[in-house]
Amino acid sequence: MNSITVTDLTKRFGDFLAVDALTFSVREGEIFGFLGSNGAGKSTTIRMLCGLLKPTSGSATVGGIDVGRDPEGVKRRIGYMSQRFSLYEGLTVNQNITFFGGLYGLDRARLDARRHFVLEMAGLHGREKMLAADLAGGWRQRLALGCAILHEPSIVFLDEPTGGVDPLSRREFWRLIDELSASGTTVLVTTHYLDEAEHCHRLAIIHAGQLAALGTTDELKQVFAGRAIIEVQAANPVEAMRLLDGMPEVEKTSIFGIAVHAVLKAHQADATPTLKGRLEAAGVSVTGMAPVRPSLEDVFLDVVEQAG
Amino acid sequence: MRKMLAVARKEFRQIARDTRTLMILLFVPAFFLLLFGYALSFDIRNVHLAVEDRDHSAESRSLVSAFVNSGYFDLVATVDAGGAAPGQRTLISRLRAGAQTAVGLMDRNDVRAILVIPPGLGRAVQTSRPTSVQVLLNGDNANTATTVMGYALTIIRSESARYQPAAAVPLLSVEPRVWYNPELRSTLFLVPGLIAYIAMITAVISTALSVVREKERGTIEQVRMAPLNAGSFIVGKTIPYFLVSLASALVIIAAAMTLFGMPMRGSWALLLVALSLFLVGALGLGLLISSVADTQQVAFQAAMLASFLPTLMLSGFIFPISSMPRFLQIVTYAVPARYFLIALRGVVLKGSGIEAFGSELVALAVFAAAVLALASARLRRQWA
C-alpha cells in the first residue's frame, strides 16, 4: 500500500529547474530517505509534498490526497519538521506543545496524553517550563519532532532533521524514527549524512533535481556489480592515488579518510596483486590493499558522477 | 585601526548586497524632497468664503468684492438666513439645518470663513455712523485661522478707511523689512527643514537595526570573539552608513538648489562640516538604540520614538522653540536637528560665517561624540 506516490513532479523557478520529473513511491510504514548534496532539490520536493509549494507540473498523492488539488487536505494528515526546528523561542516547552496541539484541534484529554508521550519521548520531563530558546540542540530537535507528531499523523516529513546536533543525539533521534516507523507511520526524511542514509529502508539519490538512483541500500550497491572496490592503505595516499589513476585497470579513485578507494573496471577483480606490485615498484610503500564492500558513499559518488 | 576598517568593509558589503535598501536610502530621500517641497506650503490662498449679505447695498457689495479681489478668498457659497448657531448642537437642529446654513458649511469644512453683513450697513457708512460686520472663522486649524483672520481684518480695515475722513497720520508707524527671504516664500523656509528631517530619519533608520540584527541572528558572538574593542566596532559600523547618508544628503541638497531655487549664500566647506557632524550624530543615535535593544522590533519602535515626530516638532522646523514651555526647550537641546537647522539656514539663506553658529557646531560635535561613546560603552558592558 503506497502512502506517497509521486509522478513526474517538476518545479521550475524562472529559468532554474529545481526538481526535474521525479517519479517514485513510498510504502506505508517505510523509512524513505532522500539523499543528495545541498541544492539538489530535496527541500523543494518536500515542500511540494507538504503543500507549501505549488508544483510546476506533474502530480503527487500523499495519504490518498492529490497535493496539487487539495493541499489543505494533505496538511491534516501529515507532520512536518523543518531544518530550522521551527519552535517558538519565547515560549516554553509546554506552551509550544499546547500551541501546536491546539492548531491541530486536539481536545483536552488527547492533548494531555500526547503531551505526556512527547515529553517522555524527548526526555523533557522536568524541563516543561524551560524556554525553547534555552534548550540545547538535541532536546530542541526532539521537541520539534514531538510537536510535529502531536496529532499522530500517518505520514511524517523530516527535512534535514539532524543538522547541527551532536552524534549521540543523532543516534537517539534515529531510534525515535525507527519507533515511529514500527508503529506504522511513514517517514520521508532528507539527509546528506551517508551513515543516516544507511538507516533507511529505501533510498532515493537526488542530484541536480533528478532522481539518480532508487532502491534499498543493497539494491543501490548493485551498481558496483562486476566492479570491485579495493581499499589501499599507503604511507603516501596522494601519490598512490595519482599512480592508480594512471593504471588501465582502474576506473576511478577517491580518498577515503587516509586510505584510497580505487574502483576497478569490470572483471578486473584479480588485478589487485598486479597493482600492488606496480605501486611498490614506484616507491610507494603499501601497508594494506584489499577488496571492500561498496559503501553508500562509494555508491553516491558513483551515481552522481554517472548522472553528471 | 585596521580592524575598524575590516568591520566597515563587511558592513559596506552587506549594504551593497541589499539593493532594495540601498536604492531606498540613496534616492527616496531626494524624491521626498521633491514631493514635499512641491506639495507643502504655509502660504494660504483660495480660502473658501461664504457670505451672508443682509444689506444688499452698494457698500456691502463693495465689501464683498474687496474680499474676492484680494486674491486670497474664493466666494463659494451664500448662507441661508436662519441657520442654527453653534450653541444649538442637538442632533435634530443639526439635521434640520440645511446644507447651506452656516453650521452646515462649517461642520463639513466647506468654508473657512463666513462674512456676515448686517442690514443697514450701507446707510450707516453713508451717514458716518459706526457699524460692524461679523467674521466667523473655522477654528479647527489654528494656524490657518490666524492667517485668515489677518487677511480678513486687513481687508475690512482698508475698506473701512475709504469711508472715514482723512485719518490722522499715526505718530509712529512701522516700515517692515524682511531679510534673507524678502518675498516670504515658505519654500525657502520649508526646504532646509525638510532636508534636516529627511537626513535625520534616513540616518537613524539605517543604523537602528544594524547591531541588533546581528544580536538576533547570533553573528555578533563571532565579532565578540575577535580581538576588537567595542569602540572600534561602533566606529567601523558608522563609516559605511556615513558615506551612504552623506551621498544621499548631497543629492537632496542638489535637488533643493536646482529645483526649488534654494540659494547658497555661504561656504560649502562649512555646510559640509555641519552636515557631517549632524549625520554622525544621527547615525550614532541609531547605533545607540541598536546596542540597547534586544529585538529588531523594539529597536525600530525606539528609533521612531526618538526621531520621527521629535525631529518634526521639536527642531524648530514647524514650531518655534522660543515659544515652547521651558521644560520642553530643555528637551530640544537633545535634538540634533535643532542645531543643524540653525547652521543650515545660516549658511544657505543668510550667508553667515562660522562665528554666527559656531556654538551650534560644537553642540553637534558633542552630541555625536556622546552617542557614539554611549553606544560603545553599552556594547562593552554586554560583552564583558
Binding site: - | F42, M106, V133, A142, I205, Q301
Partner: protein
C-alpha cells in the same frame, strides 16, 4: 475558530516575553503626546529682538521697555548702530531687529510723525508674519497711548467699519486642540503598521511561519490571529491617548466617544492591512521597516493634512491624497473632538475609510497564501 484563539494566545505570550516592546508601544504614545501637546502652538512668545538704539534718549528707552514688558518679545540685546545687528540675525540669536534712529526722542517731542524700521528674519516665513504683526500692533498701540496722553479727546475717529471676529470650534485658537487628535491618528499608524509588518516578517525569518502554513490553520484564521493582538494594542493606545488629551490637555471632546472608538477600529483595519501587505513583500525585518517608513509613513505624515493643510497643496497632490486613509481619519478625529458632529456629517469619510480598510486587507490577504509558487 478555536485555532484563532490559540494563535492569539501565542502572540500575547510572546509579547509578554518581550516586556520592552510592550512598554515602548504603550509608553511611546504618551511621551510623544506630551511632547507634541506642549510643542504645538501658534502663539509666538518671547520672540528674540535686538534693538539698535542710535538715540539713547529717555523716549527710546521707554519704547524698548514696552517691548521688554510684552510677553511676545524678549530683548536679545541692545546695540548702538544698525551695523551691529548682523551677527544677531545671522546666528539666529534674534529674529527681529528694531532700529531707532538718532533724534527719535526729539522728533517725538515735537509731535511729528516718524517711521521706525523693523527688520525680520524671513527664513522662517510663518513666524515672521505673525511676529511682524505683533511688532506693528505694539508700536501702533504705544503711539495711540502717546496721543491719548496729549489730547484725551481727539483720539476716536467717526464712522468706519469695525470687524468683529468669532472663532468657531476653537475660540482660544489653540493649536494643540488641532494637533493632538492628529497625533492619535499618526501614532496608531506608526505603531500598528510596524508591529504587524515586522511581527509577521520575524516569523518568516525564523521559519515558524512555514510551520504554521503546514498546519490545517486556515488563511483567514492566520491573518485574524496575527492581526487581532495588534488591534488590541492599538485600542489600548487609543484609550491612553484620548485620556491624556482630554484630561491633561483639556482638548474638548464634544462628540460621541463610542463613535470615536468604532471608527478607530475601522482605521486599524487599514493600518494593519498595510502592515500585512508590507510583510508579503519583505523578506527581512530590515526591509519591512524601510519599506513601511519610507514608502508609507513619511508621505502620510506630510501629505495627510496632519500639519500642512491639504487645501494649500497643488491640485495634483490633492487628488493623490484621496488615497491616504490617514486623511479621512484626521477629519473624523478633529470633527468628533472639536465639532461634536456625528455620522450625519462624517459619513463620506467613514465610508472612504471603510472602503480603504477593506481594500487593503483584501489585497494583503490575497497575497498571503499558505502555498507559494
Amino acid at each position: 475558530m478555536r485555532r484563532v484563539g490559540f494563535l492569539i494566545w501565542k502572540e500575547l505570550l510572546e509579547l509578554k516575553g518581550d516586556p520592552r516592546l510592550f512598554g515602548i508601544v504603550v509608553l511611546a504614545p504618551i511621551i510623544q503626546l506630551f511632547m507634541l501637546g506642549y510643542a504645538a502652538t501658534t502663539d509666538i512668545r518671547d520672540v528674540p529682538i535686538v534693538v539698535a538704539d542710535a538715540d539713547r534718549s529717555a523716549a527710546s528707552r521707554e519704547l524698548v521697555a514696552r517691548f521688554a514688558a510684552s510677553s511676545n518679545f524678549t530683548i536679545a540685546g541692545v546695540v548702538t548702530s544698525s551695523d551691529e545687528i548682523d551677527p544677531y540675525l545671522g546666528g539666529g540669536r534674534a529674529w527681529m531687529a528694531l532700529t531707532i534712529p538718532a533724534g527719535y526722542g526729539e522728533t517725538l517731542g515735537r509731535g511729528e510723525p516718524q517711521t521706525l524700521q523693523v527688520v525680520a528674519d524671513g527664513s522662517d516665513a510663518n513666524s515672521t508674519n505673525v511676529a511682524l504683526g505683533y511688532a506693528t500692533s505694539l508700536i501702533a498701540g504705544y503711539a495711540q497711548d502717546l496721543v491719548a496722553q496729549r489730547s484725551p479727546q481727539g483720539a476716536a475717529l467717526p464712522g468706519g467699519i469695525e470687524p468683529r471676529v468669532r472663532i468657531w470650534f476653537n475660540p482660544r485658537l489653540e493649536s494643540r486642540d488641532f494637533m493632538l487628535p492628529g497625533v492619535l491618528a499618526l501614532l496608531l499608524l506608526v505603531i500598528t503598521t510596524n508591529l504587524s509588518s515586522m511581527g509577521i516578517v520575524r516569523e518568516k525569518e525564523r521559519g515558524t511561519l512555514e510551520q504554521l502554513n503546514v498546519t490545517p490553520l486556515g488563511r483567514w484564521e492566520l491573518v485574524v490571529g496575527k492581526l487581532l493582538p495588534y488591534a488590541l494594542i492599538g485600542m489600548i493606545d487609543v484609550c491612553l491617548v484620548v485620556a491624556v488629551a482630554v484630561f491633561w490637555f483639556d482638548v474638548p471632546m464634544r462628540g460621541s466617544v463610542a463613535l470615536l472608538f468604532a471608527l478607530c477600529a475601522v482605521y486599524l483595519m487599514s493600518t494593519l492591512g498595510l502592515g500585512l501587505f508590507v510583510s508579503t513583500i519583505s523578506s527581512t525585518q530590515q526591509q519591512a521597516m524601510m519599506t513601511t517608513t519610507f514608502f508609507f509613513l513619511t508621505p502620510m505624515i506630510y501629505l495627510s493634512g496632519f500639519i500642512f493643510p491639504i487645501e494649500n497643496m497643488p491640485a495634483v497632490i490633492q487628488w493623490f491624497t484621496y488615497l491616504i486613509p490617514l486623511r479621512y481619519f484626521l477629519v473624523i478625529l478633529r470633527s468628533i473632538f472639536l465639532k461634536g458632529v456625528g455620522l450625519e456629517v462624517l459619513w463620506p469619510q467613514a465610508l472612504a475609510l471603510t472602503a480603504w480598510g477593506l481594500a487593503v486587507l483584501t489585497l494583503a490577504i490575497a497575497r498571503s497564501r499558505k502555498r507559494s509558487g
